[in-house]
């Protein structure tokens, strides 16, 4: 009996090893593809004048939709930064999703908003709209005040009011680089028939200095949690997303910054109200819809336009955010399970969705199982200490290698950290994240699964500190 149990544990251990090898090989593949993609993008855009799009007679206008729930600390800075974007024709639609912290009052006061009886097409369902405001001093700004209904619902309200053929989904705590729209719009001009969605890079703004609604100086945050997130974002965007985009199976265009064709988004019913991960949900539905109808399309990722967002600096807030992300992922994978391993959906069904299912959704359980087995062996005195130590070190070093590879890609990008000490700091954090932080994230994600099973579809609360403005820096 004991032998059978021993055999089982050893078999599971071998399985965990294989899993570890496979997941890291995939990540490495994505990193290599990203590097190739970045080089290709950079060489193809050399000597291209983005501002030419300004003179483009048929430049497609964009509606920027910004759902805002209790975004008081950042909202004015964000909206001002959006209004100052370089683009021929756009509107900024801020959707106040039933905030209770005076977000709307701040907007009304700052932009002298007035109520309007604006007529709009109610194409997709959303919670009741209380009022629509326009600003006599900022004609591009429209503010929708509606009953709280979560982000997807707020996006739908914005979609109903949006006037232009493209819309940009943007978080209210985000800051876009001034020319980000000009850059992100390129695929829509180069391949207007096929391009359905384009995403840009999201980076953590903590530690950066904001001046006149723009990131003036890139810096490393002081907060340790924010530093881990800087590394995670670099790895996720310069590694995963770009690699997946290269294989035409990108599933996530971050809700913090993505541009989509409005007609197709409306055809699929807009955002799914109540979706926890509304961004991945929309992209998967777009892919399913277009595949089902055999419509050729592109959903792509551009490594250059940067959107800066504030990362949580408190453990509880970060846990809430990651819990929500993971619940969102599990929810869509369960909802669209028929697409998984379905060759009808091309690389989406055969590669991206299985990848997310096996490695992202199941990954935390496998990792937790590994820790449980480790503890079991340790408790029963069967632990092969040198092997366990070497395996742990290998996991740490492999993780560090992936982070360094992403950092290398970041080095080739235009928005790299200015100081050499920041790189060293990142390398140190690439090691440190494997101790405690990684294990903590595993627990958060396992708990997310448990929460979802219990029917928790909430968003939790996100505590915002606000951007560091130039006059506030020490």
């Amino acid at each position: 009996m004991l032998n059978a149990l021993d055999f089982l544990f050893h078999a599971v251990s071998a399985g965990i090893l294989a899993f570890f090898l496979l997941i890291n090989t995939f990540y490495l593949l994505f990193v290599v593809l990203s590097l190739v993609g970045l080089f290709r993008y950079q060489r193809l855009t050399s000597y291209v004048r983005m501002k030419e799009i300004f003179s483009l007679p048929l430049a497609k206008p964009i509606s920027i939709i910004v759902p805002a729930y209790n975004e008081g600390p950042n909202i004015l800075e964000s909206v001002r930064s959006l209004l100052a974007l370089e683009y021929p024709l756009f509107e900024v639609i801020v959707v106040n999703d039933g905030s209770t912290d005076g977000t709307l009052a701040k907007l009304i006061e700052a932009f002298e908003l007035r109520k309007t009886n604006r007529v709009f097409r109610r194409v997709v369902e959303s919670a009741p709209v209380r009022a629509i405001y326009v600003s006599p001093i900022e004609p591009k700004l429209v503010v929708i005040d509606k009953v709280n209904g979560k982000k997807a619902d707020a996006m739908n309200a914005g979609l109903n009011v949006a006037r232009y053929p493209l819309f940009c989904a943007l978080d209210a705590d985000s800051i876009l680089d001034r020319d980000a729209l000009l850059k992100v719009i390129r695929p829509f001009h180069e391949d207007p028939e096929r391009t359905v969605g384009v995403g840009g890079i999201i980076r953590v703004s903590n530690g950066c200095v904001i001046k006149r609604g723009q990131v003036h100086r890139i810096g490393m945050p002081r907060n340790i949690l924010a530093r881990f997130q800087v590394l995670e974002y670099i790895r996720a965007f310069f590694g995963g997303r770009m690699g997946m985009s290269m294989m035409n199976c990108l599933l996530i265009i971050s809700g913090a910054f993505g541009v989509f064709r409005k007609d197709i988004a409306l055809e699929v019913g807009g955002y799914r109200s109540g979706a926890i991960g509304e961004d991945i949900d929309l992209v998967i539905r777009l892919r399913r819809y277009l595949h089902d109808r055999k419509i050729p399309y592109r959903i792509t990722f551009i490594p250059d336009p940067v959107c800066w967002t504030e990362g949580p600096e408190k453990l509880k807030t970060l846990a809430g955010q990651r819990n929500r992300w993971h619940r969102g992922l599990i929810e869509v994978l369960m909802l669209y399970r028929k697409m998984i391993f379905n060759p009808r959906y091309g690389t989406t069904g055969m590669l991206a969705m299985p990848f997310y299912l096996i490695f992202e959704m199941m990954g935390p359980f496998v990792e937790l199982l590994g820790y449980v087995i480790f503890v079991f062996f340790l408790a029963t005195g069967q632990l092969n200490s040198p092997f366990a130590v070497r395996f742990f070190l290998l996991a740490v070093v492999y993780g560090m290698l992936l982070s360094l590879s992403a950092l290398l890609i970041e080095e080739f990008s235009l928005n790299r950290f200015p100081r050499l000490s920041d790189i060293v700091m990142m390398a140190v954090f690439a090691i440190l994240e494997n101790i405690v932080y990684r294990q903590w994230l595993v627990l958060v994600r396992v708990k997310a699964f448990y929460d979802l099973m219990r029917g928790n579809k909430g968003w939790g609360t996100m505590e915002k500190k606000g951007f560091t403005l130039e006059h506030e820096q020490p």
Partner: protein, 353 residues
């Protein structure tokens, strides 16, 4: 297995560790090199910027610039300075920039057009376009047969050159281009202005695919080329909805009074998209006779038709506003009333229509 696995892990650990250390060292070293190179580039850039500025204001080449042109190390910085200046200045200053380019960079640029490296060829082709340097015809033709990106850069370059022949080449390339890529030609054709009218006219008679037809008609309106009115109007009854939309859009830009009758018919099209575009175009004509038609549009079941009808009424000035007031006060059709009220509210905020 039990003995092989730990050994494998040990070897993997060693390899991954050394690889990671090497990668970190590479990143740091590269950063040091890049920082040094950037600092040098910046210093050269600032020096050359001053020199080019001096050349632009004096109209002659300063000694420092003449010397810099001979140094290979200065070429990247000089190219960047010239491109940056090209974006912000116009008129005689641009000619000075072109002279500097021809003296310092043209030869190398023309050499690079033959390079076997794709990026070098692409950059050179783009520079040729930016500074309107004419390579010989055989080279141009070879660029037009190159990879798509170089072909497009070459077309862009050709479009900058004066003369009918260059435009003929552009349109020849446009006709041969595959449909998904034709939108790249938008800026090229638009930038050439009224010179393209005969070429568009010729293309419109050639039975091009719908995508190309749509783009040309839309561009004819965007430039605008009212001389093409009869050619474009001929497509008002085209079976494809997209073509009819573009025709209505173009007619709205031509502002030819004769187009009113055609647009009136298009306002009754079976497709709401065509109706909406036709009403918008009618509004642009500012024809008081359209009052009834535009008012009818306000009662359309389509939101976009109502929206464009309201815009059309606003463009008629006091007459249209009076009609909007009447519609906003009626109770029979709430949708029409709301749209009219919204229009009136917007002008009360902005004070313009």
């Amino acid at each position: 297995m039990s003995s092989a696995l730990p050994a494998l892990i040990s070897r993997s650990l060693l390899f991954t560790f050394f690889f990671s250390v090497a990668l970190l060292a590479f990143i740091i070293l590269r950063r040091l090199v890049v920082q040094r190179r950037d600092a040098q580039f910046q210093a050269r850039y600032l020096r050359l910027e001053q020199a080019v500025l001096q050349a632009i204001s004096a109209g002659e080449m300063p000694q420092s610039l003449a010397a810099a042109l001979k140094r290979r190390s200065c070429r990247a910085a000089l190219t960047q300075v010239l491109i940056d200046f090209l974006e912000i200045i116009s008129g005689r200053g641009r000619e000075v920039l072109k002279v500097i380019f021809e003296k310092g960079l043209k030869d190398e640029c023309l050499r690079d057009l033959h390079s076997r490296f794709f990026v070098r060829r692409l950059k050179a082709t783009r520079l040729v376009g930016l500074f309107s340097v004419l390579p010989d015809e055989s080279l141009l033709l070879s660029l037009l047969k190159d990879k798509p990106l170089i072909r497009l850069a070459a077309v862009h370059a050709i479009a900058q050159l004066p003369g009918r022949e260059s435009l003929a080449l552009v349109f020849q390339a446009f006709e041969q281009e595959s449909c998904p890529k034709i939108h790249i030609y938008t800026n090229i054709i638009f930038g050439a202005g009224e010179r393209v009218a005969p070429f568009i006219r010729a293309c419109l008679t050639k039975g091009l695919p719908v995508e190309k037809l749509c783009l040309l008609i839309e561009l004819a309106g965007a430039i605008p080329l009212p001389s093409l009115y009869p050619d474009v109007a001929g497509y008002a009854g085209h079976p494809n909805k997209e073509v009819r939309i573009k025709v209505a859009k173009a007619l709205g830009k031509f502002l030819t009074p004769d187009s009113y009758e055609i647009l009136e018919r298009m306002a009754d099209d079976k497709e709401w998209e065509v109706q909406a575009q036709a009403l918008k175009a009618i509004g642009n004509l500012k024809n008081a006779g359209a009052l009834v038609l535009l008012t009818r549009g306000l009662y359309s079941p389509s939101w976009y038709v109502r929206y464009n009808a309201r815009d059309g009424l606003l463009s008629l000035g006091p007459l249209g506003i009076k009609r909007l007031e009447e519609v906003s006060s009626q109770k029979a059709d709430r949708f029409a009333s709301d749209m009219a009220a919204m229009a009136l509210e917007e002008i009360s905020y902005s004070g313009v229509w």
